[in-house]
Amino acid sequence: MKPSRAYDPYWMLLPTLGFLLVFFLFPLALLAKTSLFDWDLLSEPRFVGLENYRALLRSGELWSSLWTTLSISVVVVLASMAAGLALAIALDRPGRFVAFVRSAVFSAYLLSWVSVALLFLWLLDADVGIFARTFHALGWTSPRWLGDPAFAPWAIAAVTVWKITGYALVLFLAGLQDTPQSVLEAAELDGATPFERFCNVTWPILQPTTLFVATTSLIASFQMFDVVRVMTQGGPVRSTSVLVYAIYEQLFLDLRVGRASAEALVFVVVLLALTVGELWLFRRSEA
């Protein structure tokens, strides 16, 4: 439509664009700038060129936090999607108790990360936690889930899966609404087993949903921070030091603004790559 006055669209967009410039785009430029400086927030920043990037690569810290983030995220995405899909199929039917169970699973997704992290910190406590006591009662030695570098990343992953399975569940339930009942019934009359019906009818219909849940959960997992800050503070021996936590530590514990900025900029590139990958997959699946 033609605006009634030529300048109308501009002032209507002004607040939104203003905020996006001040809090999104300008910060990105500022981030690029500070990544070239050595700065501890207190004294004058000193220009060091690409030294921060070199230091990140040299120390191996960047690769290790990228690898930690990626391995936890892949486990989280695969497990939460498998659980979400299985639950969606099991819970896609009428009934009050079924609806109640759906709500229970989804409610965890709305809970704060702090709540979930504290709750599981207590459940997984090595001395008085319910898991440790159960192991103890059965006569087994309980591993120190959060105190052992071999277990801690997977404990964090498991907690995350518990929290976000509701997200996959809700989206898969919505996707199942598009399954044509008549085709399913016809397949059943033809003697197709439930497994065959799932593989040949339901699964293809769910493709776009699957792709969407996978990519959004992956991008969200890469931003993981709260659960690590509350449960393990990146430890033990940096085994749970995910990207955002590493950046946070550089800034507020080591006061290395330049290096934190360089790492954050690498993170922007990673998010950009994931997003472009997502868009590319969608284009391809639509073609």
Binding site: A90, F100, S112, L119, D125
Partner: protein, 277 residues
Amino acid sequence: MSARHKPALRPLYAFGLGLIAAIWLFPYLWMALTSFKSLDDIVVAPAAIWPAHPSLAAYRTVLASTPIARYFWNTSVMALSIAALQVLLALPAGYALAKLRFRGRRLTLVLVLATLILPAQVRFIPVFTLLAKLGLVNTMAGLVLPFAVSALGTFLVRQGLASVPDSLIEAARIDGASELRIVYVILAPLIAPTLLALFLFSFVSHWNDYFWPLVLTTDEHVRTLPLAVALLREQGTGVRWHIVMAGNVLLSMPVLAVFALTQRHLLRAVTLRGFGG
């Protein structure tokens, strides 16, 4: 899928349902039960289900040792302001992008969508130094302003308004309605479900937010609830799980209450995100 089962499978299905419910509800139950326990209960019989002497002592400790009412107030003001600003600012912007022709429209839309890939976790260093320069560290404004505009919200409002017929807007213009009146009074009610979903989801996300308040606040007059509850564990010594869980109940009850009351809309918010309106 139909609800028909072979009779033999029915008990198995019921058992499965019960198991799923237990996996997701037991942690809540354990949180609530722990909050009524005493230090003795936890040390002597950590795995006992029921508190030996149920009491509200842990809650009294939380209330006595922290200004929890202050934190409730801060968190509510912050989350409500952000949710309200996001909806109010998304409306005119979404309207302009959906309905008005002007130079730079495509560019603006691309810009809005591009900011979707910049979460607070990548912006926090420059935004923090920027707000520090403006003296906004440890202020409510510093907590709210970086989130006053939601790129996703703007996009969802645009998608919602795109299907509104132009003739409706033309008729309103002929009646002499101003553009602001058209947006807030005539069009907003037409996409009320989207706006409500946006508001509620934004409220819940920011009520829960830990990252930004952690970065921006150091003193307690603007501290928010998630930060305060996480601090319950870091402060003090010894086993304080009853106290931490009492704080955790106070933190999660409002969210679970909002969920119970507005479940339909929150579910809609998730699927809206999913399918872009």
